[in-house]
Subunit: 339 residues, 2 copies
């Protein structure tokens, strides 16, 4: 079985975007709508957007299950206030829930949170509990920078975040650390902000005692860990200089990297420097990069090919990356999908 | 000959730090000093800090020449106003000039600029001209984020930067794109902010027409290009999605990467995906990582070993990385050092 641990509903019916645009247009006059009930999306529309896109691609590539969450760039937690985000998260999560109900063999849910800059993270607990306990989702996406590229929240080691950590530990789910759209002109969303956030989150963990306080907390850092594996020697050295003798012991019982790295040399490096137990298969299809690599004739985001092509991996390694590690990091998966 | 294109005076005599601390303490009362003339550093002190540190390491590793600039993390352009930075840059550049005078065979200068958030970049021209024309420096460090992790300046493609580009093109020098200390708690300076800035700068170039406007402008992106080579497939794909058919053609006539990547697999990847003509040898000794890798028994930042160990490189490739490319990117080097 192959589990893709990083998929977003990037192909949702256009009515969703129309609803969001109206919500944003009326940020200061919410009484003008839209209401949640104004959004009308039929099961057939959902089926079509999934069957012709994600599911078609999964079948072509031999991917069995995708852990599926709302579109990351659309979370845009910087827009409006908590109520704005709460309504928007509720709508987006419910749509993903409907995908998991329509395609229960192929999609398992992960939640976006109704984060809002400057608002206590405990405000996200009700939506998270609903998604895990009622919708059967198996994880969440946690945005370390809900300001959208202005980085105004405390680092992940700060007690600001503790209430959500306590609850995700209690629920036995991991958090994928995933930012959203950048509203800072300096940062291109998918080319800079996403990768920067991955690196930043890793370093925030390295310089805190977070995993001493929450020993069973699990973070999944997407996009192959940003710059981290490429600079693994730098991080090992920085850790040593900070009197942390063993970076693996400090972080790799709690941090995992996905395989959203869109060329063979990148995956080869990831597989060489990061322990196999810390790597989870993912493609983020359809995500940041949608084209075909003219050098290979295959989609850039067809990451299964790179895992298959990584010479340093054994078949047992591949099995861990494709399935076993995801079942450990997302233990609620096991009740959702057949073995 | 081996040229290290990325060295900073990180080992300057303590009087420099004392002077800076006093300058910062009196930011709002500059009449209380310190005066430039209050800083007393003798030639012998400079000799000692260099001979026992950078020069000793260069000799041990067979490095002939280092392009040497003021300590990057100490630039701290976010502190005070333009006058603060102007005085500080002037002092730091003069110290590096003295190093190049005391060790003319081993050190060639590169300038820090007196940048200050919100101030026009043209204010940096006099200090830059002095360093190039009077001190014989061969390059500059340009900080894309003088706010220190708040990213409040326009992106590098914006006309805000044009006056400095016009002058560095006229002077035929490159700019290393190098941020300074982060004063944003989210970003660890050397573990996150530096690498993020490298990735961000690359993406700012990709999404602008900068090199169409300034076809002979040369940027050196340090720290192995941040996350860029590891995600080269992502960047190629993003470029294609943005109707840029050939990323090499768009950027690699103007952008170069250094080799400050502190482990063999990282350098192997860099050498595999980035054309050899775009790679310049560097170690940033003494820089972000100062320890010995217990796995190899050698210093993490002894990057010459990784270049020597990169199997994909020919002897001609190594010669380009060690010397030839630096002479092309920093053409003023050729008048400074014997062939």
């Amino acid at each position: 079985m192959i589990i893709d641990c990083h998929g977003h509903y990037t192909t949702a019916p256009k009515a969703l975007q129309v609803w969001r645009d109206l919500q944003i247009a009326n940020l200061n006059t919410p009484e003008l709508g839209p209401k949640i009930s104004d959004l009308k999306i039929s099961d057939d529309e959902i089926r079509e957007t999934i069957e012709t896109n994600q599911l078609a691609r999964m079948r072509a590539r031999g991917i069995d299950v995708t852990i599926f969450s709302p579109r990351a760039s659309f979370m845009a937690h910087h827009i409006g206030n908590f109520n704005t985000s709460a309504t928007w998260a509720s709508i987006c999560n419910e749509l993903c829930y409907r995908v998991t109900q329509l395609f229960p063999e192929s999609f398992v849910g992960a939640a976006m949170l109704p984060q809002s800059p400057g608002v206590g993270i405990n405000t996200c607990l009700p939506e998270m509990r609903k998604c895990i306990n009622e919708y059967g989702f198996v994880g969440i996406n946690l945005n370390p920078d809900p300001s959208g590229g202005h980085w105004q929240s405390p680092p992940l080691g700060n007690s600001y975040w503790h209430s959500i950590y306590e609850e995700i530990v209690a629920l036995d789910i991991p958090a994928m650390i995933h930012v959203s759209t950048s509203c800072n002109d300096c940062f291109h969303t998918t080319g800079a902000h996403y990768l920067n956030a991955d690196t930043t989150a890793f370093m925030q963990c390295l310089t805190s005692n977070l995993f001493e306080q929450f020993s069973s907390l699990r973070f999944l850092i997407p996009h192959g860990g940003g710059a981290v594996p490429y600079h693994w020697g730098r991080f090992r050295g920085l850790a040593m200089d900070a009197a942390i003798p063993d970076l693996n012991e400090k972080l790799l019982n709690n941090i995992y990297f996905d395989t959203c790295v869109y060329h063979q040399p990148g995956i080869d490096l990831l597989a060489e420097v990061i322990p196999v137990k810390n790597i989870l298969f993912a493609s983020e299809t359809f995500g940041a990069v949608r084209g075909v690599d003219p050098d290979t004739g295959f989609y850039f985001d067809d990451t299964r090919r790179y895992i298959d092509g990584a010479q340093s991996l054994s078949e047992k390694d591949r099995s861990m990356i494709f399935e076993g590690n995801a079942r450990k990091v997302f233990p609620r998966m096991n009740a959702k999908i057949s073995r």
